[in-house]
Symmetry: C2
Subunit: 302 residues, 2 copies
């Protein structure tokens, strides 16, 4: 099992030569799940050989240009490559009208269906599920309706201890029952306990994405002990007033928040171009010593 | 005087890691004039240190995504950098509605005025003039209304021969008259001829941009002897039927056209990703031996 995040764009509103605007790919056994889609995302996807064909789910946090301007080119490219597979886009309602209006103006029929699934402005919601991952959305606090996302591995079944199969001559049905946690009665009337015959699967790992937002006080309600937290850190602490005014987070606020919810690891990004990233990171590390600097191309195992 | 073209994107519809979609900057003494604006243009502009502030004129050939998807991010960036200077966009009429509709959906007031100047579908038209350049548009033949552009240095005044100023004790008014080609009567009643007192300025140089299009039969009517011709060469000659069907040009057609109008130099681009660029260029060079391969970042003196 491999579960990672690849940073595709780590700048805030203004892209630079080295940092494009917001985009990340969650990768589960090579299947990408795209979060946000700043300008140039399709180029970064090519650069890091992310599969276009296996991308079936895109998650858009909010309708600001630096989080969506790469979407038009990405969908166009898929269309020109002859895609027929449906695409799910979990997004603010307005995105559907924006995309439909643009492609209608271009007289461009994409040739594949796009399902726009609107995000719920209230509470944490289970929005997506497949064999790899469960995905939840939750509202953030920004100048526009904005959402964060929680990606959690699906619960895996217990693993049967191989030697028990032969020793107890287990049938397929018995194995399935044991793997699902049920005990099994053997031919001699004795009971084989699931706890004895199986090994517990690894605890599902999780990743939380928070951008753009003021620090979310109740993040710990559902993200306590998260394996990896991505949080925006647009501003240095000296500009905390500006951060508040523009509904963004400072380095120290992000680091304190991560510490407060006992996040196992923290990656920071969405850096304002007014500071060197090294200074932002140095400040964050005074509170969260191992904080990771998001850089375009960086892949982090979860 | 420096007059050059910087290629910012040289791929056709699909960008690759090395080639972004269509964009070029004509540079006159460092002032950029942008032609087309594929996704990532603002990043390439930063990469090659093209001035954002001095960019006041953008020329859009047609409304296909690979020629306009970088425009939204570019205008947004200018807005966030606090631009107040007006921007002229010479473009198909529809672009104004596309941009206005998108920025309205984003509730993004750019903060500077954009003048959309619609291109005329008939004939060659003088659309722009400043101290550096005269720009003309002309219709191409593509699947959508599409235009090419001719950039020509403004006619410069004659240069006065410095030694004549002292020798004939010339006044400012007399110098101005001589530089403009007029003869001057001196105090002793004799006539000083402009042809004697001045040196002719260099012949104005010109650049023609043709993408996307079928080969234009009458290009020579206004582009004969052009100093530099950029022409699309999307397809290899074996795919001439496909080129015709999609209203594009093959390598050989482009090279023959350039030869036919006695273009001094030829640069080819808008390459389909289905061929290696080296093969496209090798084929073109059988007819135009010095044809230049457009590559992202390449700057060509005109």
């Amino acid at each position: 099992m491999s579960f990672s995040v690849r940073v595709l764009g780590s700048s805030s509103a203004l892209p630079t030569v080295k940092r494009m605007t917001s985009a990340q790919a969650v990768l589960y056994n090579g299947t990408p799940y795209l979060i946000d889609c700043g300008e140039g995302t399709q180029i970064r996807m090519r650069e890091y050989s992310l599969s276009f064909g296996r991308l079936r789910n895109i998650f858009i946090s909010h309708i600001h240009g630096d989080h969506i301007f790469g979407l038009f080119g990405l969908l166009s490219t898929f269309s020109m490559l002859g895609r027929r597979t449906e695409m799910n886009i979990y997004c603010p309602e307005k995105l559907e009208q924006i995309c439909n209006s643009l492609f209608a103006s271009l007289e461009h029929n994409l040739g594949f269906k796009v399902n726009y699934i609107y995000l719920n402005p209230n509470g944490i919601n289970h929005i997506h599920s497949d064999k790899n991952l469960d995905v939840f959305s939750f509202p953030l606090v920004h100048t526009k309706p904005t959402w964060g996302f929680l990606f959690r591995e699906t619960e895996k079944e217990r693993n049967i201890r191989k030697n028990f199969i032969e020793e107890y001559n287990l049938s397929i049905a018995q194995i399935v029952k044991l793997k699902r946690g049920g005990d099994v009665e053997l031919d001699d009337g004795s009971v084989l306990k699931s706890d004895d015959a199986t090994i517990l699967p690894p605890v599902p790992k999780s990743f939380v994405y928070c951008s753009d937002t003021l620090p979310l006080k109740r993040l710990g309600d559902f993200a306590e002990n998260v394996d990896l937290l991505y949080h925006e850190a647009t501003f240095m602490d000296k500009d905390a007033e500006l951060a508040k005014l523009t509904c963004h987070t400072t380095t120290i606020q992000a680091a304190e928040l991560a510490k407060g919810i006992s996040a196992k690891r923290l990656v920071l990004g969405h850096f304002s171009t007014r500071y060197p990233a090294s200074e932002l990171m140095a400040e964050a590390r005074t509170f969260f010593p191992d904080a990771i600097e998001a850089r375009d191309g960086l892949e982090i195992e979860i």
